[in-house]
């Protein structure tokens, strides 16, 4: 199990966006993304709907239809994908805090905050264009 970390939806969202970026102007269907990322098609469909609604991707209909990036991969940071799916990150309160508790586990909160900050820095500093290369290699093999 994942002890703590990004949700399945976020991980699927980031992987899907890398594949859509790699597909470029050819576009790519949900079915093919699920096949490449080896993830649940139902879950992926929901995530892709959110990404589309939030304006990161758009779709064309029809037998040859598929998904495309709405901006270039260089203009999309992973934090944009994260926030499209999960909402704005509360940078002042990164870690789970049992807010209604009268007991504050400062020791635990500090390590969780430190690890959260590491994740956040990665998401804020990594562009989609930096991770699409591996997806391009997989697409070329298809």
């Amino acid at each position: 199990m994942r002890i703590i970390g990004l949700s399945d939806a976020n991980i699927i969202g980031i992987h899907s966006m890398a594949i859509i970026a790699a597909a470029g102007s050819d576009g790519i269907s949900v079915h093919k993304i699920a096949d490449l990322a080896k993830c649940s098609k139902n879950h992926l469909t929901k995530v892709v709907e959110i990404l589309s609604k939030e304006g990161l991707i758009h779709a064309t209909r029809g037998p040859a239809g598929g998904f495309y990036l709405s901006r270039t991969a260089k203009e999309i940071y992973l934090i944009d994908i994260y926030e499209a799916i999960s909402g704005k990150v509360d940078e002042n309160n990164l870690c789970y805090e049992h807010s209604s508790s009268r007991i504050k586990l400062n020791f635990f909160t500090s390590i969780c905050t430190e690890l959260s900050q590491k994740y956040l820095n990665y998401l804020k500093n990594t562009k989609l264009s930096e991770i699409q290369g591996k997806a391009e290699q997989v697409l070329r093999k298809q």
């Binding site: 199990m1 994942r2 002890i3 703590i4 970390g5 990004l6 949700s7 399945d8 991980i11 699927i12 980031i14 992987h15 890398a18 490449l36 990322a37 080896k38 993830c39 926030e83 999960s86 909402g87 704005k88 990150v89 509360d90 309160n93 990164l94 870690c95 789970y96 049992h98 807010s99 209604s100 508790s101 009268r102 007991i103 504050k104 586990l105 400062n106 020791f107 635990f108 390590i111 969780c112 690890l115 959260s116 590491k118 994740y119 956040l120 990665y122 998401l123 991770i131 591996k134 997806a135 290699q137 997989v138």
Partner: protein, 148 residues
């Protein structure tokens, strides 16, 4: 507003409950723990039952009954508290749980594995005693119980 790292409500309750029981000088029961930790009584009862079943807590019955640690706080590693609820914890290499990465190597550069491993290492090397180190026992945590 969202949290980058989220732990489940049940795990949050178990860490808070274990810490409360460790610092309490008086017998403390489900109602007290639920009230102080701001959790639902029903959910707290289920978590405590699990911690008893896994041998981390003992309980005494009766009007002055409550929960106690089966070992000293220094002997209970934080990983034991997490595993009591979740089973054995392993850090997966793949964030989407694929046995073999479809991209050859992790698209996200292994950041998920790295952070999972960091947390696991922390939980394995720190005890309940560390968790309660910075808790100010004079911060009126037990005020209501003592007043009663």
């Amino acid at each position: 507003m969202t949290k980058i790292l989220a732990i489940s409500e049940a795990n949050a309750i178990s860490f808070h409950a274990m810490a409360l029981i460790a610092i309490s000088e008086i017998s403390i029961n489900t109602n007290d723990i639920a009230e102080i930790s701001g959790s639902s009584k029903h959910h707290t009862a289920k978590v405590l039952q699990r911690l008893v079943k896994k041998g981390l807590l003992g309980s005494t019955r009766g009007p002055s009954g409550g929960f106690y640690l089966k070992k000293s706080a220094k002997e209970i590693f934080l990983i034991e508290i997490l595993e009591a609820l979740e089973g054995e914890i392993k850090v997966n290499d793949c964030p989407i749980d694929n046995p073999i990465c479809p991209f050859g190597s992790c698209l996200m550069g292994g950041i998920c594995t790295e952070i999972g491993a960091n947390l696991l290492s922390y939980l394995k090397s720190h005890t309940l005693s560390d968790l309660i180190t910075n808790i100010d026992s004079n911060q009126n945590i037990f005020k209501r119980i003592i007043d009663i």
